[in-house]
Symmetry: C2
Subunit: 166 residues, 2 copies
């Protein structure tokens, strides 16, 4: 079922969106610059956001296991998978910020494509060795994620959680 | 074999890069504007580039068939597949230009992520009903295409085929 793809990727989505809730605190790069004199990741990437996203993503995987145990087969696999999906999403987001800083884009400035697909692709790659989904489901996620990403950001903006609608 | 993925996607890569060679002539939108008062696609997307890319992509598929017939099984499938990969890449490129114009980005302005993944994702989706590749190969292409795209553009710039290195 193609909707299984959304069930599979949920920990990555949650990890990617959670910095809106868990954000703040010390930045991951501790304010340091890269060799080009610009910030490594910027103030938008914090330790609290990173570990908050990792925890939230893994927790949702555990909840998903108890709702539909047959999808994962074992709790151990559910934890491993959701941890890797969340970690992949967060690392992808960091790579995205690193690239944006190198291109001298200010914090929060949108990079169309990178913002919507970057975290998804790294999450799928990180989780691949543990459990993957068929090609059709991957293509479905690649097609639908920009729409979901856009809708979620507009929603967060309307709710006052974000300063900009992207 | 993971390198089969590059063999599979070659018609899409060729279609995506051929406007550098076949470009010029009447723009696909005939200079018309969208409802927002901005160009539909812009001067960068021309009929010659589109049909040149479609022809080049399908032709490379035919050549690939004669080099490695067992990969496709039949010439008919090779033509169908390479046509759809090329068409998907070109449609994805048009969607990318359409989005860029809506965001008021000037022609040729880079959209990090969209430029590297957009055409690839639409090519994979268009070709999916005819012949697809395993998830591992899709993830490999998603990981490697930005690097190839960047290297190809730097090369085209150094050769004087492009005005900007992206």
């Amino acid at each position: 079922m193609i909707l299984d793809a959304l069930w599979y990727i949920l920990p990555a989505y949650l990890a990617n969106s959670s910095p809106v809730i868990f954000g703040g605190g010390a930045p991951i790069d501790f304010g340091r610059n890269f060799v080009d004199g610009r910030r490594i990741f910027g103030d938008g990437k914090t330790w609290r956001g990173f570990f908050g996203g990792l925890t939230a993503g893994t927790l949702i995987g555990i909840i998903q296991y108890f709702l539909r145990p047959y999808y994962y087969g074992s709790l151990k696999l559910a934890i491993k998978l959701s941890f890797l999906l969340a970690l992949g999403a967060l690392v992808g987001d960091l790579i995205g910020s690193f690239i944006k800083r190198r291109l001298n884009m200010p914090r929060g400035y949108p990079a169309v494509g990178l913002d919507q697909w970057g975290f998804l692709i790294t999450a799928l790659i990180f989780a691949y060795p543990v459990k993957t989904i068929p090609t059709g489901q991957v293509l479905f996620l690649l097609a639908i994620t920009p729409v979901i990403h856009w809708a979620a950001n507009v929603f967060a903006y309307k709710m006052g959680w974000k300063d900009v609608p992207w």
